[in-house]
């Protein structure tokens, strides 16, 4: 509970309250975009520098495999739950399922902050796992859509391109590699911007996310009670599976919790843009309403502490 008193979380709550009260407070779109690029660069760099210091380990490979597998498989149960319990048609269920298999960078970043504050900093290579988990869920979602609704697999090459070379994936991976090459010494001169300033910038970004999530929640028409409920159940189930996977393959508690946070998070930046192109019939109000307006706030406020606790319990603490 003391985590909720962290300025990072408090700014998120401030944004949500301001939007709920219909204040005209707003962060310019380009500034918010700039902040999100900064955050991705910073975590990429930091992860790379940490891996450069730690050296290669088998744990890296198993974490990567676990992440890719989770991202690819988690959409399947989600899809059936969305069809049966959520009463969505095949295309919409597939589109939403892809979001829940993929990951939210900001949820991850917030989670790492919370974990670090408790002395449970995840391994640096979890940033690479984050980058690896963005894409497989999209492929799974498109396969599900094709099976379910006979959506033609048009322009496959272009879609793969869109997915793998998505701006956030490129920036994350690129910064990670730069951190790896530069190492601790190369990083030192740029650390004031990418390390010291990180938390303050995160506060401002979460203020904006609070505004956006609450506005989205107010304006969305697509959120039926069934679907809104699933937007809470899916992350909890996926997060639990993530914590279990992390524990099984023997990750340390922090990394295991990070894997749970990744599994439990839902994308609201990369996947929506790809889905709007790949499945234009699907309703963006639905998948953005679920992932941004319900799951994201749930994870920031309750999911992260829950997944952390699960990772601790499973590790026998």
């Amino acid at each position: 509970m003391e985590a909720l008193a962290s300025p990072v979380i408090l700014f998120f709550i401030l944004g949500a309250l301001a939007a709920a009260a219909r204040s005209d407070l707003a962060i310019p779109e380009s500034v918010a975009k700039g902040l999100s690029l900064y955050l991705m660069t910073a975590i990429g760099l930091k992860g790379g520098v940490q891996v450069a210091a730690a050296g290669y380990s088998n744990e890296m490979l198993s974490a990567a495999l676990a992440g890719v597998t989770l991202s690819f498989l988690l959409p399947v149960p989600a899809f059936y739950a969305l069809r049966r319990l959520g009463r969505l048609d095949g295309v919409n269920a597939a589109a939403v399922a892809a979001h829940y298999g993929s990951v939210s960078v900001v949820t991850f970043v917030t989670g790492v902050e919370m974990l670090t504050a408790r002395g449970l900093e995840p391994a640096g290579h979890m940033v690479a796992v984050l980058a690896l988990m963005e894409t497989p869920a999209i492929v799974a979602g498109l396969l599900l859509a094709r099976r379910a609704a006979g959506v033609p697999a048009q322009r496959h090459g272009s879609l793969l391109h869109e997915t793998v070379l998505n701006g956030s994936v490129v920036l994350l991976v690129g910064s990670f590699v730069i951190g790896l090459v530069a190492g601790k010494d190369g990083f030192a001169p740029i650390a004031p911007v990418f390390e010291t300033a990180f938390r303050g910038a995160l506060c401002l970004f979460l203020l904006d996310m609070g505004l956006l999530a609450a506005r989205r929640l107010r304006e969305t028409r697509a959120l039926t009670p069934r679907v809104a409920l699933l937007a809470v159940v899916l992350p909890v189930v996926n997060g639990t599976l993530g914590a279990a996977a992390g524990t099984l393959i023997g990750l340390d508690i922090g990394s295991s919790a990070a894997l749970a946070i990744l599994a439990g998070s839902a994308s609201y930046i990369a996947v929506p843009a790809v889905m709007r192109m790949a499945l234009p019939q699907a309703d963006p109000g639905l998948y953005l309403g679920m992932s941004l307006a319900v799951t994201f706030p749930f994870n920031v406020l309750f999911g992260i502490p829950l997944y952390t606790m699960l990772a601790q319990r499973m590790a026998g603490q």
Binding site: A32, K33, E219, I269, A273, R276, M277, Q281, L288
Partner: protein, 104 residues
């Protein structure tokens, strides 16, 4: 007095991620030039949207191109099937231009 010739002004309001496929159709049809304009937000049957949405999946762009009557018909024919499913607004109006050969 400079003589002007009448042409069609086609405007298409479309989601950012769908701009590329639309431009492919535009190129197919042989449109020689176009301009993209930004938007701030809006409201329609599917609800409200605004440009402050982080993902950009619902950010809309206004496509503007001037072309001959014949080419405009071709373009409208090609796009009509997806207007409803993709949530696209397509407007066509008369416009006068000076260098007619440029907008054919």
């Amino acid at each position: 007095m400079t003589p002007t010739v009448q042409r069609r002004r086609i405007e298409i309001l479309v989601d950012q991620p769908l701009v590329r496929p639309i431009l492919e159709v535009v190129r197919d049809v042989g449109v020689r030039g176009y301009t993209l304009l930004p938007t701030l937000g809006g409201h329609g049957d599917s609800g409200a949207w605004s440009d402050d949405m982080v993902s950009g999946a619902q950010q809309k762009v206004l496509f503007l191109a001037v072309m001959s009557e014949a080419r405009a018909e071709l373009l409208i024919d090609r796009l009509t099937p997806v207007l409803e499913s993709h949530g696209i607004v397509l407007l066509s109006s008369a416009v006068d231009v000076v260098r007619a050969e440029k907008y054919d």
